[in-house]
Amino acid sequence: MSNPRKLSQETETVSGESVELTMAGHDILFPKLPYDMKQRAKDATHNDQLQEFVNSATRMRDQLRINHCNDVFGDNYDKMRELAGSIKQHTLDHLDYYIEQFIDNATAAGTVVHYAADDKEANAICLEIAKLHSAKLVVKSKSMVTEETNLVHDLEAVGVETIETDLGEYILQLDNDAPSHLVTPMIHKNRASVGRAFARELGVEYTDDPKELTQIARRVLRDKYRQADIGISGGNFMIADSGSTVICTNEGNGRLCTSVPPVHVAFIGIEKMIPSRKHLPVFLKLLSRSAIGSPITVYNHIMTGPKRSHEADGPQEQHIILIDNGRTEVLKPETREMLRCIRCGACLNSCPVYRKVGGHSYGSVYPGPIGAILTPVFKGLANYKDLPYASSLCGACYEACPVKINIPKYLIKLRGDLIGGKHDKFIDRIFFKMWAMSLKKAWTYRMAGKFAGVFLRLRAGKSIKNKDPYLNRGWVKKVPGPAAGWTEKRDLVTPPTKDFRSWWDEHQKQKGGK
């Protein structure tokens, strides 16, 4: 079995010797641009952990989602998703208003609100806060936006030890790996690799028992919470009418990071806003059900400002860093709907492509269907030309999405943008132009069909066995040209000798004769 991390190994010659460079976790999510996904996707299809575990685990979660949501929402499931989507869309349509309201309310509650145009600015703000408090140790909970900014790297670079506390993220950090799923980040790793990483990095005796491994992590991390100078979190939701931040976790690390250390810093993308507390239940009802098919995450922590004077404990300072980092680009009307995403991962679990290629094949922080539409807008369409096309447009993601983002529609839109930007291959363009032209008249369409039929039947040779002229199809093992990819994996059927139109003409004659 190959380690997914080794998918992206590079070799470099240093003073005549071949040195194996294992890509650091971060580089998996930040590959050389423009990114070509084909190699990683191909390797993934030969990776046992991916093909066996990821495949079945994602499908199992998808089934849990469907069963659970149908159970509780019944015929209202679709309406519930419609409602959640409409609340998000309304918020995005008036995001300036709600951001201002949030800033005012959060400030009134004692939170310090910061503004970050991009990844560098977000990290710089955080580093300043760390410096101000002479921080030596930071504990952080899972946050996709801190993956975007590569925060851990920047903090460690100035000597601040920074520990991921979500069990999955902690393991990935120890093993210098990167998340491959929005909710279950280490879905691509097996227990043996965790055992090896713990033995190597923590000096404990090797075990691959998940319970023992979890207990080891618990022991190590509990000390870290106690010693940490700063706790860093992401944010699942921001509530405009109260200035509150919400984080949803199952392990409790999120609540510990935001309760125990004296300073709390939240990194939050601007799209996480909802208008009011009244809207929160709609999302709490959908988030965990969509993610893993459980009614609600174990801990939902709604924080409004730092510790109040009358309270015994809690962080003395709360900082919220509002982050753009490409989001205002997506906020344009033609792509705004993409920002409804609440990062539940349901589209990944439902996606037959994700099940085959795994998260790292997407070459960015956001994998799966949502990543395939977000990443090209965040990081430039020309840099991620594969992502819009590496989909069968089956629509399972749209069916699963709790906020009804029409992902297939946006995949097609991005394909159109690639063509508009002349990023398609010349041969493809000519092929489709000719095909489209042939469809303008029935006789050219039929002639093209006949031509293709003769060509294929010649290649099929002896495989044609049936005598019925409407059924005498054969099989082609190999075709040249743009369709060569087809016969790489499967045979291509030939048309029978007669088409439907022939039958129709005969049928009309017979009827006329009667």
């Binding site: 409790g252 239940p281 801990y299």
Partner: protein, 226 residues
Amino acid sequence: MTRSTRESFLARLHKPLGRPSTIINIPDPPEVDESIARLVAKDADLFAIFCDKAAATGMTIHQVTEQTLHESITARLREENVNTLSVCMADSQAMTHAVAQAGMQVQDWKALPGKAGLDRQFELDAGITDVHAAIAETGSLIYQSDAEHSRGMSLIVPWHIAIVKKSQIMADLIDFWNDRSSLDAQGMPASIAIITGPSKTADIEGVLITGVHGPAMVDVFVVEDQ
């Protein structure tokens, strides 16, 4: 590096939204249609639903009366060989007394305020708390920070023992948030935790493990108070 300000940051938003400045008079956000979003009716048997749903999350449910509460809790504490614990309730006196009487060491969590107090909670065997509400829909406990309620007591301790009065059980998450939505930002508790079960993870090969960072055990004593 020039830093973003509120103004420059908002300008970034105004551009894709197609306006020079923030519009103040915006349409009302979509209403939460309860015929769609409400999962438990207000007049349902909330007690039964809560016990059912809470048990399904892995919490242990005990149905007690005001008369049997202390006795039931101390019996349970003995069962688990608890030595040290703290009590965190709006009125802790009676409970503290009962537990101390049963021979367990009750630490006054308020004795060491702030970070030091939290730090000591890492050494406790259990924490007893009341709650601010409970939700039948999901079997959740709602725990808010205030002068009498340390954030750590339902979080840091390995065993969280929660006392829920039957009258505190609300039907649906919608009811709780409708109830809280009139508070202004300063009036909101700094920390509201919606707790639904013991701490869980399934990160390693999907194997479900309880007790990764938060409490591995949650016992809920539901008190008949009507």
